[in-house]
C-alpha cells in the first residue's frame, strides 16, 4: 500500500519526496525510466522527511531488526534502525559478507542473482523490516524475506521509498505487507 492510502493522504512531505527524485530515461538500458534517489539523499529536508515517515510508522511496532538490501537500501535502513533502536542487518551480493552466511537466489529479468545474510545475526522470533529504495517485481524483497524467515524471524513489513506499477494496488508481497511512499515520477 502507498503511504497516501494509509494515513498520509495530503501530507506535503510526500510531494517533496517525490519531487526530489530524478528520472533518468533509458538507464541502465533503453526503455527503462530509472528512478534516481541520489537527488533525494542530497536534499536534507526530503531525506529527513523520508526517514521520519518510516520511523513514525515503525517505532511502536516492537521491531528489533531492520534489514537493508545492498546497496541503495543501505542509504535508508541504518538511520531507521538507529531511530527505532533496532539492529541493522546488511543483505549483500555474494562474496561480500565475511564468515558464515546463508544465501537465497532470485530471478532477474535475464538470469539469476543471490542475496546473502550472516548466520547468527538474527534470532528466532525477532520482528524484522526489510528496506530498499524501490520495489519493481518484488524478486529482491521476496529473497530478503525468505532469508529472514529461514532463521525464524517474523517479517513484519517490507518498505520502499518508490513502488513501481507492477506492485501498484498490491498491499502484500509474498504474503507480507508492503509499504511504499511514492509512485515513480514520469
Amino acid at each position: 500500500m502507498f503511504a497516501a492510502e494509509n494515513g498520509l493522504k495530503g501530507d506535503p512531505r510526500l510531494k517533496g519526496i517525490s519531487d526530489s527524485i530524478t528520472v533518468v530515461p533509458h538507464f541502465p538500458k533503453p526503455g527503462i525510466m530509472f528512478q534516481d534517489i541520489t537527488t533525494l539523499v542530497s536534499n536534507p529536508k526530503a531525506f529527513k522527511d523520508t526517514i521520519d515517515i518510516f520511523v513514525d510508522r515503525y517505532r511502536d511496532m516492537d521491531i528489533s531488526v531492520v534489514a537493508g538490501v545492498e546497496a541503495r537500501g543501505f542509504m535508508f535502513a541504518p538511520t531507521i534502525a538507529l531511530a527505532i533502536g533496532a539492529k541493522f542487518i546488511p543483505l549483500r551480493k555474494p562474496g561480500k559478507l565475511p564468515g558464515e552466511v546463508i544465501s537465497e537466489a532470485y530471478e532477474l529479468e535475464y538470469g539469476k542473482d543471490r542475496l546473502e545474510m550472516h548466520v547468527g545475526a538474527v534470532q528466532r522470533g525477532e520482528r524484522a523490516l526489510v528496506i530498499d529504495d524501490l520495489v519493481a517485481t518484488g524478486g529482491t524483497l521476496s529473497a530478503a524475506t525468505r532469508l529472514l524467515e529461514r532463521v525464524g524471524a517474523e517479517v513484519v513489513e517490507c518498505a520502499c521509498v518508490i513502488g513501481l506499477p507492477e506492485v501498484k494496488g498490491r498491499c502484500r508481497l509474498g504474503g507480507k505487507p508492503l509499504y511504499m511512499l511514492v509512485e515513480p515520477r514520469q
Partner: protein, 182 residues
C-alpha cells in the same frame, strides 16, 4: 586529534564489537568486520554520535560515502548535521553524467564515480568509509570532490590500519578515526 580519545568511554564498546575474520577475502588478510557493530544499537549509535559531535559545528555541507559500507555510516551523519549525502560508487551504477577517478589496487586498478552536479564549487565536504587501509580509495574519493570544486575538510573512518600508512596518502588532508587495528 586524529584518533579519537581512548578515554572516551564509548570507544571500548565500539572496538569490542568489531569482529576480525582471518583470511578474508583472501589468505593473509585479517578482515575488520563492522557488521557485528551494527548489531549493537548502542555501539552503532555511539559510533555515529562521535562523528556528529566532531563535525556538527564545522559547516560541513556534503558527506560523501564510499560504496558500499560508507553508505551505512555516511547518511546518519549527514542527516544529523544537516548536510547532503553523496554516494561515491563503483562504475556504471550512477545514472547520468559522472566524474570518474581511477585508482591502483595491489593488482590492477579500480574506479570510483560521482555525479556531476552533486556537489557545488566551494562546498565543505567530509569523506566517510568504514575503514582506511592503504588510502587508495579515500584518495580517489577526495580527488572526485576536489574536481567538482569542493573543499575536503577531513576523511572520517571507523577503523584505521596504521601499518598500511593510508594516512600519508591523503594529500595532506586530516584523517579522523575511532579505533586503530593491527
Amino acid at each position: 586529534m586524529s584518533v579519537c580519545k581512548e578515554d572516551d568511554p564509548r570507544i571500548d564498546g565500539i572496538q569490542s564489537r568489531i569482529r576480525v575474520v582471518p583470511n578474508f577475502p583472501k589468505p593473509g588478510i585479517m578482515f575488520q568486520d563492522i557488521t557485528t557493530l551494527l548489531l549493537d544499537p548502542k555501539a552503532f549509535k555511539d559510533t555515529i554520535d562521535l562523528f556528529v559531535e566532531r563535525y556538527k559545528s564545522k559547516n560541513i555541507t556534503v558527506v560523501a560515502g564510499i560504496e558500499a559500507r560508507g553508505f551505512i555510516f555516511g547518511p546518519p551523519i549527514a542527516l544529523a548535521i544537516g548536510a547532503k549525502f553523496v554516494p561515491l560508487r563503483k562504475p556504471k551504477k550512477l545514472p547520468g553524467k559522472v566524474f570518474r577517478e581511477e585508482y591502483d589496487l595491489e593488482y590492477g586498478s579500480d574506479c570510483l564515480e560521482m555525479h556531476v552536479g552533486a556537489v557545488e564549487s566551494g562546498e565543505r565536504a567530509l569523506v566517510v568509509d568504514d575503514l582506511i587501509a592503504t588510502g587508495g580509495t579515500l584518495c580517489a574519493a577526495m580527488n572526485l570532490l576536489e574536481r567538482a570544486g569542493a573543499e575536503v575538510v577531513e576523511c572520517a573512518c571507523v577503523i584505521e590500519i596504521p601499518d598500511l600508512k593510508g594516512r600519508d596518502r591523503l594529500k595532506g588532508k586530516p584523517l579522523f578515526v575511532l579505533v586503530e587495528s593491527q
